[in-house]
């Protein structure tokens, strides 16, 4: 169990509530976690000359089902409970270990991923595997139980980290005292990058949820940003920038690009009107509803564009009292 405490050095990864319910996280962890992080370091070993009766005693007292055999600190074999059973059947408990141990050693490296151990377990049908370092020296032993414990503890830590993140983020505006605090998120969007379309909006939605926004508010901002993000991807010459400014009482979202600009802004705001190419329409874009959708989600939208120069889209949501991010109370007006 000592090995479990050493897991803390592992690089944490963001886990969402949705992920937590999925088995895939376990798979991911089996690649992330190193064998050295989950193995047992305190290994009971025996020597080749030891009588089998002593091994029986060691296995019994420590409640284990096998042990590596070391000679001058070198791994020379493995003795399992099956070997002991064979020995007892023949009534040979007095003979030395080397007569019954298995010399075909299947071991794993301490620096390998846990998934390597899982694979080795399934191909060799072993109950335990000796773990060696880069010099082939025995440094630990790993069982399926070690893996289960290691993964569970890593999952729990992930969950805890996410809780902690949410807690910290949701107190951001309370923890920082200023006359006007705002948090600015910035995303650079590449033109024609359909593969990553929606990435920025999903990051922004998650950031807002962490800050303690209501799901409704996070969804509204997500949709507005998604449409604006896709406009940058579909229509701009060189992509553009999304800037989101979060303040306790409002959210200001802005996209800026350097062209080509919109020839007729009024037309662009007409539901169903679109300049999208057939290729883009085939993908389901270009419904001519983007700006209309944005208008529906925000309190104020300003579209400023001129051909040849570029477009600036400003979107603002004024938070209702129950949606506002908690701020530190004014010491003078606080009771």
């Amino acid at each position: 169990m000592a090995s479990l405490q050493e897991l803390q050095g592992r690089k944490g990864r963001v886990i969402t509530d949705k992920d937590a319910r999925e088995i895939s996280r376990v798979e991911e962890l089996s690649y992330d976690l190193k064998i050295s992080e989950v193995m047992t370091r305190d290994v009971k070993t025996v020597s080749p000359e030891m009588p089998m009766s002593s091994v029986l005693e060691i296995l019994r007292v420590n409640r284990i089902s096998g042990t590596p055999v070391l000679e001058n600190e070198n791994l020379v074999g493995v003795l399992s409970i099956e070997d002991l059973v064979r020995c007892m059947e023949k009534n040979e408990l007095h003979v030395p270990v080397h007569q019954y141990m298995s010399r075909a050693i299947v071991s794993v490296n301490a620096y390998d991923s846990v998934v390597k151990a899982i694979e080795t377990f399934s191909t060799h049908r072993k109950g335990r595997l000796p773990v060696v370092d880069e010099n082939g020296k025995l440094v630990g032993i790993i069982t399926k139980g070690d893996i289960t414990r290691g993964i569970l503890s890593a999952l729990q830590r992930d969950y805890h980290e996410e809780e902690l993140r949410r807690y910290r983020a949701s107190h951001l505006f309370e923890d920082i005292t200023s006359d006007r605090t705002s948090l600015i998120l910035r995303y650079d969007i590449k033109p024609r990058d359909y593969t990553n379309g929606g990435q920025a909006s999903s990051y922004i939605k998650r950031a807002l949820l962490r800050l303690g926004a209501t799901p409704q508010l996070a969804r509204q901002c997500g949709i507005a940003i998604y449409e604006a993000e896709m406009n940058l991807i579909i229509h701009t010459d060189h992509g553009g920038v999304i800037r989101v400014q979060i303040e306790p009482h409002r959210i200001l979202m802005q996209t800026t690009d350097d062209g080509p600009g919109i020839a007729d802004v009024d037309k662009a705001l007409t539901p169903g009107w679109s300049t999208a190419t057939q290729e883009v329409r085939d993908m389901g874009f270009g419904a001519g509803m983007g700006l209309v959708n944005i208008q529906r989600c925000v309190d104020k939208m300003t579209l400023d564009s001129s051909p040849g120069k570029g477009t600036k889209l400003l979107m603002e949501i004024i938070l209702r009292p129950e949606e506002r991010f908690k701020e530190i109370e004014d010491p003078e007006t606080a009771p």
Binding site: K18, E22, G197, G198, S201, S202, R219, I223, Y226, G284
Partner: protein
């Protein structure tokens, strides 16, 4: 009617990682191949019927917190789309039938 019953009765193929579909009760449905119309028209918890099978259906489904996307006429998304859906917890299902037929059946089943 829960999502598991819908999957079984309509013989849908589940492309993404299984979830406890029997705990998901779709709140209704929406059919369109235009993403912005879906964003405007679909409500959280809805089923979305479309023939689109590219990456952006995942973003739309996730933003709108849809119960599942049912891709019609056996259109098959790339593995990268399925991977992205798994990452975002979006359920992708496939049907042999076209959108019109499938919507009719769902309506009959009481998903309205």
């Amino acid at each position: 009617m829960n999502l598991q019953e819908i999957i079984t009765q309509l013989d849908l193929t589940v492309l993404t990682q299984p979830k406890s579909f029997e705990t998901i009760e779709p709140t209704g449905g929406y059919a369109s191949d235009l993403l912005s119309c879906v964003i405007a028209g679909a409500k959280p918890g809805n089923l979305w019927l479309t023939i689109q099978a590219h990456n952006n259906i995942v973003a739309v489904a996730s933003l709108n917190e849809l119960a599942a996307v049912i891709i019609t006429e056996n259109a098959s998304p790339d593995p990268s789309v399925i991977e992205k859906a798994n990452e975002q917890g979006v359920t992708l299902l496939v049907s042999r039938e076209n959108t019109y037929q499938l919507a009719g059946k769902l309506w009959e089943m009481g998903i309205r």
